[in-house]
Symmetry: D2
Subunit: 339 residues, 4 copies
């Protein structure tokens, strides 16, 4: 058993951490912090989590005493809190964008704020960085779009056969967080499709960093809000480099099967099956499929994840499991919810 | 460990049984039958359930060898299969309406078919019939609307203070089953509300039977399809008998707390909280709340359940747990999914 | 041609007025005011209304010069603006609750603010008050829930056969207005049902006032937010007074047909048809149907309207048509949008 | 006034034709045919269209006597009916795919059936073929995806600056028609995203034909079903030919403004506005916007249409207006419906 604290537990990723950790066999939640909701029982903000004695507390980072701390705080805030959390001796998993970038300049350009810490996190995508995660004290948990996108592209970039990938993502609204805004107002989302930041979303450079580590594939990314609560479906329109046009769907599928062999949360679809959100809803699984090539040489790979689980809190727990030497599926060993 | 078979595993309640039983610590699924899909791997019909070696098989009831058998077959079909299933020596939990009625005439009137079996099932609502369930060999698992409705009314009927209850229910579309029809066609459901069988739904007499066992309360019921996948929210508009008009909200709340004290899956809300579907989505919990009385003497009690879990497969597993002497929460000990 | 001004044009009822009046053959929009958006072209807030030269202007009531003025302002604000608007000599149609109540005490009790004007408006439900509307200078346009509820109850109250009516309403989220809040946040509404103010919604006394004018029927009202953009479906659970239990569905239907004969926007359904939102979506029609009586003597009548049209801006235009002597269907003569 | 007949009026495009033509100032509907629903009043299938005396009749093509006939029949059926309709002397507008292809081989390859007629239709996209439409007797009304896609690409193909376009489309479910199937079953669509035929949808060659007429741009197309009733949002990821990389967003915008100047139903968005479905819902407008270029040289253009109006029945009426010399906006001169 390890003791766990959650910093910033009132939002959706905080709620998912509590939901999932409550059923984790190796974990005890000892603290959930919130400045705004000090003293409030958890079920007042997360009405599905009842019958616990969990209460939000306004504790400083230095007051926490836990083996593992999840920082479910916004970017900017995490930057300041994480060093203090590390000083407590805990292993820290940060769900913000603050520690994801190898190059601080990229962070500062896309996030528009100064980076004030020189601590380095390990980019917490287990399928890419498992060995570093095992030894890490700070995990920078990947962005939700980033997770869906790079899982759909890793085998191609590693094989050095992709010239460019265009990620066209369709996301549920929970990715925008718990605070209501005009762009999450039901009448603006229901029965609608809303593209946003079509060429300038800050998850693009993060995708570029991870996929660009293997080859110099060009990355384009456009997200769309669809009338869905959870989930990101990413359509990766990929073009192959000159000289690789003869590759077949079967060979592509093979690359994916080899890359992800043994991965506990990756499901490679074949036989005409296509990923869709309901197959992974509420679970930590990612589904990857399609692998078709059209007459113009475009390869299509499609991935589906739950943005709050594999795209955030579930992946964070997966990282914890690896860091702590638990069974990787501990607390995450259940299927998605269809319908 | 008990061995479990599921008869008719291709529909939604079958899928939920597989989803939930796959994580049940005391259970091994040994057979899932389907006449239509003999030889088909389970994930072809339930795309969220992957990485198992489960395959549908076209087996006769007499060919099954399991400690517990769930019949997820339609009414009419269950009537014939259940006796054969019982002959195998298994404990049987039937999810259809066939064995729910004490009075066969009521069944024949509302279902419009002849009842051909004289076997009696125990009505499988643990909150009402736990002791009988413990000793039962055949459970008639309650209807989904019925579960939400009677949970909201039991304390009032037991206290003999209710003259009539009008159950106005709003249900998700998964309650209509896996087969597409005009009334489940997305363009007919999206952004719409569809009342149906406003005074003649066959779940009414089942509510009447269970609540009428304690007092002669009059029961009215009207269901509405809303653009929701899972869940039933029931608004119980209740009128009290003469002489009971002075009862207070607090006293009503007290009746509910006492009735459901210790119940593992009932959550009584207070302090202004109102049940809603997302609080129980995907879980076996029922939430009950409101307990307000308006100026005309109408008492409002509201319940929320997931129709496929507490309203069907989760409750069936709860019944199995009781029949087998397991921890009642085994395999069902997780929270709903909000958002 | 009459000239029209809209005060407070940035919200949903303002947008609907512009949308509908733009196609009205007898109307020219001369002013749309907004304090916040002075100088902003209309399409910046109402992205569907393009290619006009309409611009929001921050004008005072006294600066308006129009034959008809619609006040699409919140309650409290309307109270103060309406007298000034009337002083310009315009006919005024107020969409707020401020001038709907015959008894100021009722208003003050339910709205929690002091009423500071002694001007009286005509309650703008044409089906009840057409003759007064013809001569009125101030129309108090009815509340959206109120419209759906009383249309379903008028014939019963007029016939003095109803003892009580319980209005269980399911409403789209646009009724909550254009400003985002926690209760309109997509993740809280999608795939969910949210009851609210189950016994204390301020539309109840307005229903009481209008239906209570004909008999002393008791009124109960509970609204529910469903994942719908537009529309209110109201299920009127009605109980008849002693001695009227023998009335038949056919006789009830007859009452409705007679009451609404010749009404341009009322559609009485028969032959097993049931009102649903999509049949009236975007239109000024109200559908009323069901008229079934169950075994306990409960009569069910169901109405469906578009809350922004028949429940607000369309009804306001209907009132204008009557006040100005236009064809009552002018600008409103189109069908709903199904699917 | 022209007389109009609709062949195959029971589906969604038939319903839209009736809805829209009912308000058309120059049209009288004289016949609506249906083999299956002979004698049924229109409102029984289209519950929003009431108060007319329109009735489906099982008439043969040769029995029709109308100035204009709309064939809202499936492909394959239209192929056989259209010649007979033309023989009546009517102008014919066919909404199926049967007469859209210049090259019969392409049709036969993608539709998998033999083409048995040598009559040629005019491809009914007014923005491309207005002059031919004026003189046509047979219009082949474009596919819904096709309309959204090519409107977003015409100026680029005409300017001969596009090397390839990848159309990633998100469509509402009404595009699948009125008949329920597994892929339109609410529980499969709600809260979900379903890609389908990612590299093999039969609308691709139609896009290719029209855009390829101006330059040899390569076309890729992938459609996705989203939980929306109406509308198609198409994200056109476009790559420019070598030597054109220096073109700016402003110059691209200019191309679009010039191309569509004076077009009654095209709205070019600028100033950071992005097309979305609600802006055109229920209307014949197409919105086109974005025109941003990312760091990799990808140009993004986004279009939004209502698939049943601009993508089908509204465009058909626009074609009729042109053929008959009416005002092009007759019967279509109203805004979309937001929210």
């Amino acid at each position: 058993m390890v003791s766990v604290a959650i910093v910033g537990g009132s939002g959706y990723t905080g709620g998912e951490l509590i939901r999932l950790l409550s059923s984790h066999p190796e974990v005890e939640i000892v603290d959930i912090t919130s400045r705004q909701y000090d003293g409030t029982p958890v079920h007042k903000l997360h009405p599905h989590i009842r019958g616990t004695d969990l209460v939000f507390k306004n504790k400083k980072p230095s007051e926490l005493d836990a083996d593992v701390i999840f920082a479910a705080t916004p970017h900017g805030a995490s930057m300041k809190i994480v060093p203090e959390l590390l000083e407590t001796g805990a292993k820290v998993i940060d769900l913000s964008g603050d520690y994801r970038f190898n190059d601080i300049d990229v962070y500062e350009k896309w996030y528009g704020i100064k980076h004030t810490s020189d601590i380095k996190g390990v980019f917490g995508l287990p399928e890419l960085h498992r060995e570093e995660i095992k030894k890490a004290t700070l995990i920078a948990n990947p962005g939700c779009f980033v997770t869906g996108a790079i899982l759909s592209g890793i085998p191609l970039s590693k094989a050095k056969i992709a010239e460019r990938m265009i990620f066209d993502s369709k996301t549920g609204v929970s990715g925008a967080g718990v605070n209501p805004t005009t762009s999450t107002h039901y009448p603006n989302i229901g029965d609608n499709v809303n593209p946003y930041k079509p060429t300038s979303h800050r998850h693009m450079p993060e995708i570029q960093q991870e996929l660009g580590a293997f080859s110099d594939v060009k990355i384009s990314f456009t997200p769309h809000l669809v009338p869905v609560i959870r989930g990101i479906l990413t359509t990766n329109h990929c073009f192959l480099i000159d000289g690789k046009e003869d590759i077949t769907s079967e060979e592509i599928l093979d690359l994916y099967k080899k890359q992800y062999e043994g991965e506990p949360f990756i499901q490679i679809l074949e036989d005409g099956e296509i990923p869709r959100l309901s197959s992974v809803r509420g679970s930590n699984y990612a589904q990857i499929g399609c692998f078709e090539i059209d007459e113009t040489g475009r390869l299509v790979v499609i991935s589906a994840i739950d943005n709050l689980v594999k795209g955030a809190s579930g992946q964070a727990i997966h990282n914890m499991n690896i860091m702590c030497g638990f069974d990787e599926k501990a607390g995450l060993d259940f299927f998605g919810m269809h319908p």
